[in-house]
Structures are given as C-alpha cells and as structure tokens.
Symmetry: C2
Subunit: 393 residues, 2 copies
C-alpha cells in the first residue's frame, strides 16, 4: 500500500538531477511528458520543468469514478482533484477541475498511459506491475484517470516568500503522518483518515506561512493545524517517527521538540497531504485494475504554479475561463474587457472582473456607460480622464 | 451564539402551518420572499413552498468574504456554499455555487435584506437585533451575503425513498451534536469543529440511505459516519443529550440505545450540519456587523430540490450552465445540443452532454459528424435513422 505513495526519495539531489538532464527538459512540462513517453526520462520528476505543476495519478475502473469524484469533492483539502479523463477510457484529454484553468491549459499532447516516467499497477488490490515504464497493456476503455494536486507549488511559494521549508533546504523528504481526522466517505471510499505533511516554523512565522499557502486551493492550501497542541489533536504519537518521509531535524541533526524556553523554537505546522487519496483508494478494497504513478515519478503538466492562483472565488461567471482579460480601474469602479471577442456574458446584469487576483463585479448600468468608450482599445481606457490604472493579466 | 442557529422549533406543525397560509404561498419560493418582504409572512418557513430550496443566510463585512469563501471551499460537507452576493454590497443579485445552476435560476426578484421572515444581527459579536423583520438599516455597501445549504432537500428524498426520517414523522426537531472533527481553517475562520445532525436507521437501511443522500452535494450529501462506534469516534458523550434540537426517541418515547439483540435496532447515522458555518462564524470573533436569518426563518429560493442533482461531476464545461440541453442518443454515442444559441464551446475538442443525470463526453470528430444533421431541429434527430432516443431536460 505504502509503495504507491508519492514520497520522493531524499537521495534525490535536485541540483545534481538538473545537471544530468538536457536543458530542454528543464523548460516545459510537455518536454518531460514526451521524453517519458519515448522512454528517455525514467527517473523521478523532482526538479524537472521547474514551476510546472506535477500531479499525482490515480486510474480507476469507471464504476468507481463517480464515487471517487464525490470523495475528492467532499475532502478537497487532502484530496484536491485537479483533473480527470475527459471521457471514460480517455487517456489523452482532460477535464480541468481547477477554477479558471481549462483542460487544454492543464495539458495538451498528453498520454496518461506513457507520460509518467514509472507506474504501479494493482489488480484486485495485489501489486502486479512495479515501477513499470508504461500502462498501455493494462489500460482499458473502461478506465478513468484522476490527477490530484501535490504541494510542490506552495513549497515554491514559501521559498519565494523567504520561508523555504526546512526539509527542502536540507534535501530531505517531508515528514508525513497518519492522523485521527476522518475523511468524509463517498460510496465505495468509505474509510480512511487525513494524512498530513509537516513543515516546522517559528510561531511568529505561522501567520505569514498561512497567508502564502492559503490561495493554493488546488494543492492543499493553508495548514489544517499548527503548534504542539495540534500533535495530540491530530492523534500523532511521536512527531519524530513519521509514517512516511524523513523526521524533521535542525541543522545539527537534532529532533524537533517542544519549547525549550528560548522563544525562537520551531513548532510543527501540518498540511493536508496528497498521500491521503492514494491511501484511501488502496484501502477501499476495489475490484479490477487500479493504476498510479510510481513514487516521485509524477505526471508533469503545462499549467504553472501561478495558474493555481487564478481561482477567483467566483462561480457562474463562465466567461472568465475563456478569455484573456484587460482590467481597468475606472473612478471608484473597476471594469474588465475580454479578449478576443469583446463579448461579455449576456444573460446576467452583473459582470465580474479580476483585479489583484480578486474577482469583483460591476453592474450592467456601469458596463453600458463604459461601452461608450471604445472598449477594444485599451489605450482609450488608459488615456481616459476617468481611468486610474490599467493592468493586463 | 446558539440563538443564531437554524433549528426549527419542534412546536411547528407543518400541516397546521400549511392550513394557515394562503395557497399561493405554498406554490413558489418567490411568493414566500415577496410575502416576507411585505411583512405578511413573519413565521418560520417550514412547509412553505414545498420542494423549493431553503437556505441559511450569513452576511459578513467584505473584509471577511474571501476567507469565508475559502472556509466553505475547504469544508464543503458541513459548510456547503450555495451562493453569494454577485458583488460586494449586492443584496439583489446572486452568484450560484451549485454546479449547473445559475444565480438567476437560484433566485430572481430577491432582496436579501427583507426576504427572510426574521433576522438576527450581531455587532462585534454582540446581539443587537433579535428576530427583526428586515436588515435594511444594518446593511451597508460593504456587506456580502452567503447562502448555505440545509438538509431539507435530502430529507424529502429520503421520504420519497420510503425512508422518512423519524424526527419528521414525529414532528420533532432533528438532534444535532458538536463533534471533535476539526474544520480546516481558512484565514479568520481558524477554529471550530463539525456539527452533525443525526437520523437513526436500521443497519440494513444504511446503504440505501447513503445512496439516496449521496448526490445532494449542495446540502451535505451522504452521511459522514454511522453506527454506534461512530458515536465515540465523533466524540459524542451522550447520544440522548443533543447540543441542539430534540433527542431521538422511538414511538413509545424511549431513548435510542445500543443493540438489544433483536437485530432490528436503530443505529445513529450522522450528517454534516448547516449549523457548522454559523457556529464557526460566531466563534471567529469578527469585528463589525454580522447578520443571519433567525432560526427556522429561512431564505426560500426559486431553485427546487431536483435542481441540486444537476451536478454533473464535470468542470470546465462552462456552457452547460447557460443552456437548455437536448440530449440525443445516437447509435452507441450520445450527443447534446444547446439551446437557444446552438453554440458549443469552441476551444476544446471534447464535448459533454447530460444523459440520465450523468455528464458524458464525445469527441470533436463525433460532433462534426453530427453537425451534418440539422442540429437546430430536434426532430431531425428524432426522425434520423441513427437516433434511438430523445429526451429534453
């Protein structure tokens, strides 16, 4: 069971790996996929295609697909569904579940059966394919693929924010723990508890750590618990004995331990972990052939970390996923114009736009007023007496 | 805090209430809203506008809106977000969060400030308006309204399925309990645990009860736990002492108790409960004016129970929320045609359609083939040699 879990080996040195692979592989997700498809990339994907989203892969018989979809919907923090097969049996087209990102933006030119470097295959719960190069012979017209978020993205964001996770700096694997927090069941997936990953921070850093990771809804988002009291609350018996990954140590190799009175001690901070859905799937006693990527050998996508932040907290404004937007601040109101069509949703009298990564809305009347300005020329907005600012996403 | 909780009084006899209100009020959600707006409907909404969705209302200062949205996204089972104000300050336009249902379908002609029969108002956590008729004087341009699902819908579905909840049959309130299951924090909403409602069933009924309630994702969906072992697992000390509502009793008024060896005993079944978000909001120590409906005095919508089942488990197919669909089974493939525009999303080579409440997809090539048949005439499909069945949603 644990063998199906995404826990990149601590032996992988990203810098060394980067030196060993052609520069082209470092550039884009699609290069990694094609290289894996050709059998050229066989190792873990850590450090390949930096900033491109890497996903956990779970492939199920279609009879379990609705249950698993609902399971992810009911447990979005540990089981963030990024995408699934566009149709039953489809290995080369995805439907995106990331708000504001289309399936095509997630990945075009993808073959789920070949584009991860290594796979695991289970039949009626028994391992029948271990670290194999592709799953073409196992894939059937009845299979559905699910892509689940992993936390690489917010780790990069933490690093950028000056809060690089200690395990990354030490080139160790993140510690992961089983907890006592029940998952909400959905059909066949009726058991299991949250798995959490842990990154220690000083108490005075936690608010900032929460802020940085909060927007990454598609890759676990902000922590679910923090501080020493959270250890007992989550039912973790020994913080120095993680269930997967490496224990957290300070730069002298000493264990993390409760406050020693210096005020600058590190406390554990826990996030939902992508091992959760894999563990739940393996625990569900499914019949038939279930497949996944081999640990660390992820599916690399075309979508980038920043794309995860496109979530606007708005639904029903379907057009904002289809257009590039120009955002204009206009007196105290804010407007946007969609390219290339210039069309805005017709059946509503409220329009939304995106400013500073937040979706706001203006009334129909406001739009009609703005339409008197030539909307296809952004300069006409920029030059207008009324405009204060102009940004292009 | 508990005073803000939606727990209809057990003293309300739906049959009697129904006899007291004009027949027109029993027909549509909009009638209830307009009647409440005029001050004619002042009592609880139980039994009004049968089958129309009733929603919990939470109104927050805009500074908390993103955090609360994320809080609902991270805890969708106990905190199912149905809709929110279309813009900051908007009390008469909603954005829908129910997949496949637009804001306009949820409610047109709505004034959130007046359309619930009674409201509660809190300022800096202190109750300043108790069971008041409207919130016009408290509402500001800085307020955002959130509508949260309640479990009426799946209770009707259980009744239709021959599994009427015992509390409904006995005209008692459903028992509700605090649990030890932590909510995933989001920004200011960083504390609180699941509240659950409980309906007892025989063990051999539980699978069917799960099946019936499973699709109602917007109103808590299937149970989160069941059986006597779940009582301890959820940290409930005494099943006969609920934190809100009435204890569950058999027809002789006896308490629910663990198996007495007859094999037909009832066991507790627990669902996520809409009290959870209200309790979490009241616990968050918010500054400013927070408002909600008074217990049992819900906001009644235009959307009906069955509309909740429109969730297709598909995302990124934005067009399916905007069109009425004709569904056509076509040889072994299935197609749909969107009215009124006839337009299908252009930027994808996979198209979805809805058959028997499930979203399926066909390839671009299949669509192109079908486009040779006149797509605007559904009869041309129906009469076609290739068509087997035709259904209109």
């Amino acid at each position: 069971m644990a063998s199906c879990i995404d826990s990149s080996s601590p032996a992988i040195d990203p810098a060394r790996r980067r030196a060993l692979v052609p520069e082209s592989l470092l550039m884009e997700g699609v290069n990694v996929r094609i290289s894996a498809r050709k059998g050229e990339t066989k190792g873990p994907t850590s450090a390949l295609a930096p900033s491109y989203l890497q996903a956990n892969l779970i492939v199920l018989p279609s009879g379990y697909a609705d249950d698993f979809t609902r399971f992810c919907q009911r447990n979005p923090v540990p089981c963030p569904l990024i995408a699934k097969s566009a149709t039953v049996g489809s290995y080369n087209a995805l439907v995106s579940w990331i708000e504001g990102v289309t399936g095509e933006e997630l990945a075009t030119d993808i073959d789920i059966r070949t584009d991860a470097p290594k796979y695991m295959v289970y039949k009626d719960g028994e391992l029948v394919g271990d670290q194999i190069n592709d799953i073409k012979t196992y894939w059937t017209d009845d299979h559905v693929a699910f892509l689940i978020g992993c936390s690489y993205s917010f780790e990069d964001a933490l690093k950028t924010g000056g809060l690089m996770p200690r395990h990354s700096r030490q080139r160790r694997n993140v510690p992961m723990y089983k907890t006592n927090i029940s998952l909400c069941p959905a059909g066949a997936f009726d058991r299991g508890t949250y798995i959490v990953s842990m990154r220690p921070y000083r108490k005075d850093q936690i608010e900032r750590v929460r802020e940085i990771t909060r927007p990454y809804l598609a890759t676990h988002g902000e922590p679910i618990a923090w501080g020493w009291e959270a250890v007992a609350q989550l039912g973790i018996k020994d913080i120095n004995k993680p269930d997967w990954g490496d224990r957290s140590v300070d730069d002298e190799g000493c264990n993390l331990e409760p406050a020693r009175g210096h005020g600058d001690e590190l406390v554990p901070v826990f996030w939902g972990c992508g091992v959760t859905p894999q563990y739940a799937v393996m625990s569900a006693g499914l019949k038939g052939v279930v497949m996944g990527h081999a640990p660390g050998h992820m599916l690399v996508l075309d979508c980038r970390d920043d794309d995860l932040l496109r979530n606007r907290f708005e639904r029903g404004k379907n057009w904002h996923t289809r257009h590039r937007f120009l955002n204009i601040q206009f007196d105290d109101e804010i407007a946007c114009w969609a390219e290339p069509s210039g069309m805005i949703a017709q059946r509503t009298n409220v329009y939304s736009c995106i400013v500073n990564s937040t979706c706001v809305s203006v009334s129909n009347a406001t739009w009609l007023k703005w339409l008197n300005v030539d909307p296809l020329s952004s300069n006409s907005f920029r030059r207008s007496n009324h405009s204060k600012a102009f940004t292009s996403l």
